[in-house]
Amino acid sequence: MNTLLERRLLVVTGKGGVGKTTVAAALGLVAARAGKRTIVAEVAQRGDVASAFDREGSQPFEEVELAPGLFHISIDPQDALEEYLRDQLPSGVVAELLIRSKVFAMVAAATPGMRELLTVGKLWELAQLDRRTPGADAYDLVVVDAPATGHGVAVLSAPRTFAAAAGSGPVARQGKIIDRMLSDPEQIAVIAVSLAEELAVTETAALRTSLRERMGLPLERVVANALDPDRYSPREATRLEPHAAHPAVARALRAHRRALRQRAQLARLRTFTDQAPVRLPLHPGGPAIELLADELTAQL
C-alpha cells in the first residue's frame, strides 16, 4: 500500500468549524517539504453552478504558488465547466457561444450531478501527470480542502452516479475513468478532521459509514484538531482538589475535566481507523501552519 504522501489525492473533510482548511494547508506544506510538488485545491462550497445565471464572464482559476513547491487553487464549478467546454469542443467559437448562453448554464445546472462532476473532474485533471490544461505542470500530490462532510462524499461519488445515469456519451465515459481513480485506495486517501467533541465525532462516524457505502473507501486517518493539553495525572488532579479556591487551580481542574471529556471522544475516534488519530494541540496564540506541519510530519 502506498504511504499517504505517495497517493495522488488527499481529500480533507470534516464538520464546519473544525479547522479543515488549516489542516489541509498544513498537509500541503508537509508534502511540499518532502519534495512533492503539491497543490491545495479549495472546493467552493456554494454548490451552485447556477451562479452562472448572473455572472458576467469569469476569471480563469489560477494556480498560485504559496510557498516553494506548494500551490493553491480555488475550484469553482462554473470555471470548471468553461475549461471543460474549451477543452472538449473542436471549435472555440462554439465553446464561447455555450459559455455565454444562459440557457446552457441553466440546463447544465439542471443536469443531475453536473456541478459535483465538474468539480471532481477538475480535481482529477490536477492529479494527472499528463495534464489537459495547456502548458500546465504536473503535481505529485493534490490536497483537497473538501466541502463539509455530507457534501464531501456527494462530490466524490458524482462521477459514479453520473456515469450510471447517463449510460453513454463522453461525459459518462470520463465519469467512469474519474471514478476508477477516486475509488482506488492506492491513489486516494480521505482524511477526516474532527474536534474531540461529541457532535464532531458523531459526524466523523457518519462520514466513515457513507464513504464505505458509497465509494467502497476506508477512512484513512482522523486528525483530532485543537486538543486541549492533557496535563494532569489522576494523582495530580487529586492533589489539586483541596486548593480549588485558588483561581488558577480552579481553572486547572476545569481544564482537567475538559481533557477527560476529550479523552473519551478520542477513544471513540480511535475505533474509526487502523492507525491512531493524529493529535493536533490547540495553539493558544492562533493556529500556525508551520507548527501544525511539524506536528503532522511527526505523526503521519
Binding site: K15, G16, G17, V18, Q45, R46, G47, D48, V49, A50, S51, F53, D54, V94, L97, L98, S101, K102, V103, F104, M106, V107, A108, A109, A110, T111, P112, M114, A148, A165, A166, G167, G169, P170, V171, A172, E198, L199, T202, P229, R231, E236, R239, L240, H243, H246, P247, A248, V249, R251, A252, R254, A255, R257, R258, R261, L282, P284, G285, G286
Partner: protein, 378 residues
C-alpha cells in the same frame, strides 16, 4: 469582563422575527434554540425554525418526530430544570425541498400543472441548484409562519452558507430567475421560442446531449412551460419575502466564534446588511476564553504562590495552563476588539467557553442566561 449591560431580551424588544446568521460551526443552532427557549420561558409563544440540528439537541427538544410544520415542545420536557415556562415553545426542522415544493403547489393554478412541475425529472435538481434556493425556502417558510400570525416571535437558524450574500440575495435571485430571459424563451408561444428552439437552443441541447448522453430537452421544455403559469405568483411571493427581510419587526443576530475566519465572515455579513439596509439586532461572540481579574495573575506569580502547596512541578503545570489560557484570552479579546470596531458595536454579547457541549435543556438554559446577560459566572 461581563456580558455587557444590554442582554438579548432588550435587543429583541418589539421584534417578531429574529434571523440568526453566522458561518458553520459557531453555534448558531444552539444559540437559536437557547434564545427561543428563553423567550418562551418569559411568556411568549415562540417558534424556532432550524435546519439539521444535532441529534441530541433535537432529541432533548423532542424534535425527532417533526415534519415541516412547527410542533409544540411538550411542557413536560422542560420541567425540572429550574425554569418556569410561562409561554410556549414550538420547534420545527426545515425541509427546504418540501418548502419549495409546497410553494409551487400553492402557486400552481391547477393540480395538473402542480403535478407536471413536481413530477418533472429535472425539477428536483433545478430547485436545489438555483443559487440560494435553500436560503429562499427558509425565508419563505418564515414569511408563511409570520403571515399566519400564530406566534409572538419566530427565531430562524439560517442554513450553513458559504456566502452570506446568498441569504440576502435569495429572493432577488429567485425573482430574476423566474422573470429572466432564459425562462421566457421557452414560454413565448411560436414567435421567439419557435425561432430559438429551432436554432440556438436546439444547438445547445444537441451539444449537451452529445457530451452527456442525457436528453433533457423534453423535460426542460415541459417544466418551463408549466412553470410559466407560476411566474407572476412566484415573483410576487419573492418580493413579499424580500420585504419581510427589511421589515421593522425583523432583526438579524450575527453569531461568531472569536476565530479568524468566522470573524472575517461576520464582519463581511454586517457590512452587507448595512448596504442592503437590513436591520441588525446584535452580535454574539460565542465560546470566548474570558478571564476574571484574578485569573490574569502573571504565570510566574501563580507558580510562586502555589509552589509550597503543590510542589514545584505541579505548580509549574498549573502556571503553564494559566499562561496558555491568558494567551488564548488575549487573542480572543483582540478578535472581539476587531469586531467591536468593525461593527461599531461597543457592547457585543460575549458568551464564554462553557464546560461541555450544549446539547440538552440545561445547557440551553445556561447559554440563554449568558445571552440575556444574567449569568454571574463564566
Amino acid at each position: 469582563m461581563t456580558s455587557g449591560t444590554s442582554g438579548i431580551d432588550e435587543r429583541l424588544a418589539g421584534k417578531r422575527i429574529c434571523i440568526v446568521a453566522g458561518s458553520g460551526g459557531v453555534g448558531k443552532t444552539t444559540a437559536s434554540a437557547a434564545l427561543a427557549l428563553g423567550l418562551a420561558a418569559a411568556g411568549q409563544r415562540v417558534a424556532v425554525v432550524t435546519i439539521d440540528p444535532a441529534r441530541r439537541l433535537a432529541d432533548s427538544l423532542g424534535l425527532e418526530e417533526l415534519g415541516n410544520e412547527p410542533r409544540r415542545v411538550d411542557a413536560t420536557v422542560l420541567e425540572g430544570h429550574g425554569i418556569e415556562m410561562r409561554g410556549e415553545l414550538w420547534a420545527m426542522m426545515l425541509d427546504p425541498k418540501a418548502t419549495f415544493d409546497g410553494l409551487i403547489a400553492k402557486l400552481a393554478p391547477d393540480a395538473a400543472t402542480r403535478d407536471d412541475v413536481l413530477g418533472n425529472r429535472i425539477y428536483a435538481q433545478l430547485s436545489s441548484a438555483i443559487a440560494g434556493s435553500q436560503e429562499f425556502s427558509a425565508v419563505a417558510k418564515l414569511y408563511e409562519l409570520d403571515r399566519d400570525g400564530d406566534y409572538d416571535a419566530i427565531v430562524l437558524d439560517t442554513p450553513p452558507s458559504r456566502n452570506a450574500l446568498d441569504f440576502l440575495d435569495a429572493p432577488d435571485r429567485l425573482a430574476d430567475f423566474f422573470g429572466g430571459r432564459a425562462l421566457k424563451l421557452f414560454l413565448v408561444p411560436g414567435g421567439i421560442a419557435g425561432r430559438v428552439m429551432g436554432k440556438g437552443t436546439a444547438v445547445v441541447f444537441g451539444i449537451l446531449k452529445k457530451l452527456t448522453g442525457v436528453n433533457l430537452l423534453d423535460d426542460v421544455s415541459v417544466l418551463f412551460r408549466s412553470m410559466g403559469s407560476l411566474i407572476d405568483g412566484f415573483r410576487e411571493r419573492a418580493s413579499a419575502v424580500k420585504a419581510l427581510l427589511s421589515d421593522p419587526a425583523t432583526t438579524f443576530l450575527i453569531v461568531t466564534s472569536p476565530e479568524r475566519e468566522p470573524v472575517a465572515e461576520a464582519i463581511f455579513f454586517r457590512q452587507k446588511l448595512r448596504e442592503a439596509g437590513m436591520p441588525f439586532g446584535g452580535l454574539i461572540v460565542n465560546r470566548a476564553a474570558v478571564l476574571t481579574e484574578a485569573e490574569m495573575t502573571a504565570p510566574a506569580a501563580i507558580h510562586a504562590a502555589l509552589r509550597d502547596d503543590l510542589g514545584d512541578a505541579l505548580a509549574a503545570k498549573v502556571a503553564a495552563g494559566a499562561e496558555d489560557l491568558q494567551i488564548l484570552a488575549a487573542r480572543h479579546a483582540a478578535a472581539i476588539e476587531r469586531l467591536r470596531s468593525a461593527f461599531d458595536e461597543p457592547d457585543p454579547i460575549v458568551v464564554p467557553r462553557l464546560d461541555g457541549e450544549v446539547q440538552d435543556i440545561d445547557g440551553l438554559l445556561v447559554l440563554y442566561r449568558h445571552l440575556a446577560g444574567r449569568s454571574n459566572s463564566t
